[in-house]
């Protein structure tokens, strides 16, 4: 079995009467790329802040590399957290950041950082507060990759990064991960772009886990069935429905669960259209407001 890097059990974080995280339980295994997905305010950043010892839990257990992260320098040293809006000391330039990084990250690769600076065309001598939003994100991405921390968190790392820069990030992440395997947690809204990079998906909504599955398992588990309403309803009768749209006599219903060859033939014979549901569409269905109540039970089942 792969060693477990993070173990979280019943983790709860309350701010006064607001519960940001509600009895969350999951494990992260060594050397896998995780997607921590969910809508704004779902609790993604809170989870990462708790795991990196920046917040204390209200209740529940956290173990990172076998210990509580907060106040354990040996645990914290093995983690890198790239926050969405990282703040840097006044008057710092990107060159200062890259010079300081090896003091915090023992696996820091200066040559790799230099290559990334060239890839992202990052001006090193300009003061950070004068950088564009995309360039600021590039600083974070470079630190996150070149630190090669055994447990790396990227929290929405690419605000303002253009499509080219984002693909540089994905390519370099995959290349470097292949050579230097480590555990990576990627929190993002651009689900379609990263879906194929992820090995495992944790979907969180309103402080609770909706889905905790291997990405390969998630892929193809949902399909949309479209056609005449009565025929569609007949086809989906015994299946878990996670989305439903109707237009006149036509219906389009999204179902959870894999369709086998026999189902496909039957759908074709009934004249129904089957369409795959991407990870992003699945998440929209699972975290959308209309059916959130019923899907939670289905996802948990």
């Amino acid at each position: 079995m792969t060693p477990t890097v993070v173990r979280v059990d019943g983790l709860t974080k309350r701010y006064g009467s607001f519960t940001a995280l509600d009895r969350v339980t999951f494990d992260l295994e060594e050397n896998r790329i995780y997607g921590l997905l969910g809508r704004n305010g779902a609790g993604k950043t809170t989870i990462m802040q708790l795991l990196t010892g920046q917040l204390f839990p209200s209740d529940g257990e956290i173990e990172v590399f076998g210990r509580t992260p907060a106040e354990h320098a040996d645990v914290l040293r093995r983690m890198c957290f790239i926050a969405e809006s990282q703040r840097y000391p006044e008057d710092f330039t990107a060159a200062h950041v890259l010079k300081a990084a090896p003091w915090f990250f023992e696996n820091w690769d200066a040559a790799f950082a230099e290559r990334l600076v060239a890839d992202f065309r990052l001006p090193l001598k300009r003061r950070i507060k004068k950088l564009s939003r995309g360039q600021l994100s590039a600083v974070g991405v470079i630190v996150g990759l070149a630190s090669r921390a055994p447990l790396t968190f990227f929290d929405e790392p690419y605000l303002g990064l253009d499509a080219v820069a984002r693909h540089i990030f994905y390519d370099r992440l995959l290349e470097d991960y292949a050579e230097h395997p480590r555990t990576v947690v990627l929190s993002t809204h651009l689900i379609d772009e990263v879906a194929n990079l992820l090995e495992h998906v944790i979907l969180i909504d309103q402080g609770r886990i909706l889905l905790d599955r291997d990405a390969e398992e998630v892929r193809g588990t949902a399909s949309t069935v479209a056609g005449p309403r009565a025929t569609v309803e007949q086809f989906v009768a015994d299946r878990p429905v996670i989305g439903r749209e109707a237009l006149g006599g036509l219906a389009s219903v999204t179902i959870d669960g894999r369709l086998d060859q026999a189902d496909r033939v039957r759908a074709a014979e009934l004249g129904l259209e089957l369409a795959p549901v991407s990870l992003q569409q699945l998440i929209v269905h699972l975290t959308g407001t209309d059916l959130a109540g019923s899907t939670e039970q289905e996802a948990a089942a």
């Binding site: 896998r32 995959l174 991960y177 050579e179 194929n196 990079l197 390969e216 193809g220 795959p276 991407s278």
Partner: protein, 119 residues
Amino acid sequence: MDESRPIFIQIAEQIENDIIDGSLPEGSQIPSTNEFAAFLRVNPATALKGVNRLVDDGIVEKRRGIGMFVTVGARDRLVERRRAEFSAQYIRPLIIEAEKLGIDIDQLAGLLRAERIDS
């Protein structure tokens, strides 16, 4: 990549296609899983799963410390398997659509002959 099916299966099928059309001859080395992962922009674990599927089927074999190689007889086995699946995969949907349009079997055969690519 097609969204409806697991990527590792699609990776396995791509390698199978290359073996069938001869671009990966028997005995030749296939790219490493990291090369597949980088080229297709997928997680290396996914690429490994695809290649392992071929190892389980005896289509490629691991040579420790060197890499993965296409086995002898792999192409014949693949062609045989694809032929067995051909009817369900292609003929059945074709007939369903033809019946929907009122094309009978003789007309369908005529259409097939007319469309046949001379080679």
